[in-house]
Amino acid sequence: MDVLQGTLELLILETLAAAQELHGFGILDWIRESTEGDLQIEEGALYPALHRMQKRGLLASTWGISSKGRRARYYCLTDAGREALAGERARWKRYVSAVEQIATSGRG
């Protein structure tokens, strides 16, 4: 299942809220892992999203060394990011219930 348009940001925010600090590969892996591989994110699309979110101040990043001794850029949430997460969650819930209403009325 591909990620619906507009939900990648929410997934990134959720992942970083849960895992505190991850590099790009880690974020993808975390999402795959926690959805049992149900959600596949287009790998190339991840980094532009991360960079845009950092530019908007939702994320901060630092350089570190991964367990394999490689340099990696680690991302984490800023306070603005945490606020955005709350807003995104609410928006997502409204979206889901709206879609559900239509889906159930269509069936009836």
Partner: protein
């Protein structure tokens, strides 16, 4: 997954350009993907190609990223590092707050144990180890000597001999001190105050100067001038009343100018500290009173040891005996004031409390370790995922270390606050046997506090290693490989049960100790002391010299008081009775031969030969005193003494002869049931006696009062009766026999309460640990339990299984604890009375209590275990 542990921070990562950064980031992604593919069985070359294929156009993405033009914070290394630290620490704090239960228990255990340890240290240090507040305290000695009770102290240590000591070159300064109960009357109602008279020699021996005002002048000693120096605390009180330095207060109707204040930490080195000091002449006169006995305090010459001066004093003894025309000076003992407090019961009691505190600290550490390991195991999956995602062990360590450091910091703050609170409480909890030697308040040396707090720091740092230890074996099993095995390793389980068993073992030892001491204390309270504690009271009247200047007026005062007391309804008998102790003698048997016994002290009662038996002494043979017994040295000895020296109570009655070496012949008129005049505990093998004394010229100011059975001891009425005779007359040491006994037992009571509360704390911590362990065990086995219930297992059997596991851990702890307790009984034996340190009942009851309590603690988790919904558990999996 932190990028800012100390090693990483030193890497020159921050100077790279933005373009370099994008390259690195994408490169990293491709390498990680390729690694993962290799793990899945791809060849390295194929894996690299596949990684690039999955990523799409690397060059295109680079362009896109450059266009976004993110300005990294990488340029400012310090700022980035700082922001990272803040994130790291707030993250750690958030994780701790999310699990308030374990966090609270870890912080609470550590703080409680450390505060108890620090407080105990402050008390033990303040009482036993702190240098006495005198210049060169090692050179100050108290001088004890043996003599007949009626001449005790006064002659050998009195004015006549004080000079002899110095003449012989034993001391550079020597002098007497004596205490008086006086009435202070400038505050309206007469108020009893203790004062201590010091001779010039005693003051010089102590060598302490007032911190405010001045010391006594030489001529003030000679004429026992009406001036006084106050202790710091009393001066604070006086100032509250509007006093300022040099103002007088009224004592015994004399205006006494308070001319100086002692330093704040000053303590008089002997028992019964007084708030006021007055100059005393060498004839023991102070404020118009004459002391009955003075005690000798002296300073030995610089550079000499107490032992060498003691040898010289032993040589001087015959000279003193000859000079004073008295052959009964059996021994002279010099006691360093520094070692004054190492008395038998107190010392061992403090050691026991110290050991108990150490055990509590160990239990707290075990508990904190246990809960940390449970937290670690609980978060195993989270850490596995992190590990799989590339977090290094260093990163995980830093993550755990931050949490441990925050826990430690919280514990340090809590411990500091708790220590301050406990130190404020301590002075009111100390037993009388200890309080007199304690400083006014206990303070904690900042270095000790720092050490204690550092210990928490070191311990919590070590705690961060525990989870790291668990997690080090976890690489890439669990989360990353999709293996959903939840339960943790056998090593971790063993470590946890080991910690639990250790806690139970230490609690067991503490519980055994507390139970033994408590039972011993209860036994001591119930001991028959041979006289009537429940229907007697005693008091002392020190006639105010201004009103009663001569023996005749004092005698009139005493007989009026006696009549008033006799008139109180319910009072059966009132009689002048003096209780005291004399130091040991070589006791003789009926043939006048030494029995080879030299008891430490021989407590005695002095009763006037026609005085009623106002202490309610129970006779087993012979009779009570009659008029004329004083003339023939009539004496009543206790049964233990009679049995040893004469074979039986009956054969002792009527015997005439000396009872101890160098003693005058006495006539035994009666034998009392075993007497315990000094203390209900007879561990030192004391012998007690009651003497018939003659009234001669002495005015006897100690009274014993006995009431009829069933009548409460009328303390208030006794006070009123004395007040009716003279409202300005202070009453000293008025207390019931029961209260006097309670004072004697204050060390035992203190020890009982201390050990009982420490044991209770230990038990509480151990139960928290067991409960947490059981709850965690159930949570770990949810799946297994769910399956067992699904295939028809009895819920009862599941519950029993959980209880069995906890029971086994507790039982192992009990066995280990029993072995320790059984071996360590010697430590406590000295503080036990009437109960064996290996008392079978205690050793049988405590395990039942402990295992019972653990099972009770595990009951909750056991009940929860059977509420596991099999369907849900299986669905979760």
């Amino acid at each position: 997954m932190r990028s800012h542990d100390p090693i990483e921070r030193r890497l020159p990562l921050f100077s790279q350009t933005e373009n370099d950064g994008i390259d690195w980031e994408l490169q990293h992604h491709l390498l990680e993907t390729a690694d993962r593919l290799v793990e899945e069985g791809w060849t390295p070359d194929a894996a690299r190609a596949e990684a690039e294929r999955r990523f799409g156009s690397v060059a295109g993405r680079k362009q896109e990223l450059k266009k976004i033009g993110r300005t990294t914070t990488g340029g400012d290394g310090m700022m980035e590092w700082f922001a990272g630290e803040v994130r790291g620490w707030t993250g750690a704090a958030r994780r701790l707050v999310r699990s308030p239960g374990p966090t609270g228990v870890i912080v609470g255990s550590l703080a409680l144990a450390m505060a108890t340890a620090l407080t105990t240290w402050a008390v033990v240090y303040g009482i036993m180890l702190e240098p006495a507040p005198y210049a060169d305290p090692g050179g100050i000695v108290e001088v004890d000597a043996s003599d007949e009770p009626e001449r005790y102290w006064t002659r050998y240590l009195g004015p006549a001999t004080a000079g002899s000591w110095s003449e012989a070159g034993l001391f550079t300064h020597a002098g007497l001190h004596s205490s008086f109960d006086v009435a202070r009357t400038d505050r309206g109602q007469a108020e009893s105050v203790s004062i201590r008279g010091l001779t010039a020699g005693a003051e010089a021996a102590l060598g302490v100067e007032p911190v405010r005002g001045r010391a006594f002048a030489a001529e003030e000693f000679a004429r026992s001038a009406p001036v006084a120096i106050a202790t710091w605390d009393y001066a604070v009180r006086l100032e509250r009343e509007g006093w300022s330095l040099g103002d007088p207060i009224t004592i015994d109707e004399i205006e006494v100018a308070v001319i100086g204040v002692m330093p704040r930490d000053f303590r008089f080195p002997m028992r019964f500290g007084a708030p006021l000091f007055v100059p005393m002449s060498d004839a023991l006169e102070a404020l118009g009173r004459t002391g009955r006995y003075g005690e000798l305090v002296a300073r030995i010459p610089e550079g000499r040891t107490i032992e060498s001066v003691q040898t010289q004093a032993d040589e001087l003894r015959p000279v003193l005996v000859e000079r004073l025309d008295n052959a009964k000076l059996a021994w002279i003992k010099l006691n360093s004031i520094e070692r004054r407090y190492w008395s038998r019961g107190v010392r061992s009691a403090l050691i026991l409390v110290g050991l108990a505190v150490a055990a509590l600290v160990l239990i707290a550490i075990a508990n904190a370790s246990l809960l940390t390991s449970i937290r670690a195991a609980d978060r195993r999956r989270e850490t596995q995922v992190m590990r799989a995602l590339g977090a290094s062990r260093g990163t995980l360590l830093v993550r755990w270390w931050r949490e441990a450091a925050l826990l430690g910091l919280a514990a340090i703050v809590a411990a500091t606050l708790a220590t301050q609170g406990m130190l404020g409480l301590v002075p009111s909890l100390l037993p009388r046997s200890v309080a007199f030697m304690a400083p006014n308040r206990f303070v904690l040396d900042p270095r000790v506090l720092a050490m204690g707090l550092a210990a928490i720091g070191v311990f919590t740092a070590a705690l961060s290693v525990v989870p790291a230890f668990f997690l080090s074996g976890d690489r890439l099993v669990g989360g990353a490989t999709g293996d959903r095995r939840h339960s943790d390793g056998r090593g971790a389980r063993r470590l946890r049960s080991g910690l639990l068993s250790a806690q139970v073992a230490l609690s067991f030892v503490l519980l055994i100790g507390a139970t033994l001491v408590l039972r011993s204390y209860v036994g001591l309270n119930a001991t028959d002391v041979g006289y009537d504690v429940d229907h007697t009271a005693s008091l002392m009247i020190d006639p105010t010299p201004a009103r009663y200047p001569d023996p005749e007026s004092q005698r009139v005062l005493m007989s009026r008081i006696l009549r008033e007391l006799e008139a109180i309804p319910g009072v059966d008998a009132v009689a002048p009775t003096i209780a005291g102790i004399s130091f040991g003698y070589d006791l003789l048997d009926s043939n006048g031969e030494s029995m080879g016994l030299e008891p430490d002290i021989v407590p005695y009662l002095e009763v006037y030969d026609d005085g009623p038996n106002a202490m309610g002494v129970r006779l087993v043979a012979g009779r009570w005193f009659e008029p004329g017994d004083a003339g023939s040295n009539g004496i009543i000895i206790d049964r233990a003494w009679a049995d040893l020296a004469f074979g039986s109570a009956e054969s002792a009655v009527g015997a005439y002869g000396p009872l101890w070496a160098e003693g005058d012949p006495v006539r035994i008129v009666g034998v009392a049931d075993d007497l315990r005049l000094e203390s209900p505990d007879d561990r030192s093998g004391r012998f007690d006696r009651v003497l018939a004394a003659s009234r001669d010229e002495r005015v006897i100011t100690s009274l014993a009062i006995r009431v009829a059975p069933g009548v409460p001891v009328p303390i208030a009425e006794i006070r009123e009766a004395v007040g009716r005779v003279d409202p300005a007359q202070p009453i000293g040491q008025l207390r019931t026999g029961r209260d006097a006994l309670a004072d004697d037992l204050s060390t035992d009571r203190f020890l009982s309460w201390m050990l009982a509360s420490l044991a209770a704390m230990a038990l509480m911590l151990a139960l928290i640990g067991l409960q947490a362990g059981a709850a965690y065990g159930v949570q770990q086995r949810r799946r297994e339990i769910g399956i067992r219930l699904a295939i028809g297992a009895e819920p009862g059997a599941v519950r029993r299984g959980v209880l069995r596991q906890t029971g086994a851990v507790a039982a192992l702890g009990v066995v280990i604890g029993a072995l320790i307790a059984f071996r360590a009984t010697g430590t406590i034996a000295e503080n036990l009375y009437g109960i064996d340190a290996r008392d079978p009942l205690t050793f049988a009851a405590v395990p039942i209590l402990l295992v019972g309590a653990s099972l009770l603690g595990a009951l909750g988790p056991a009940l929860r275990a059977t509420r596991v919904d099999p369907a849900r558990v299986l669905r979760e999996e």
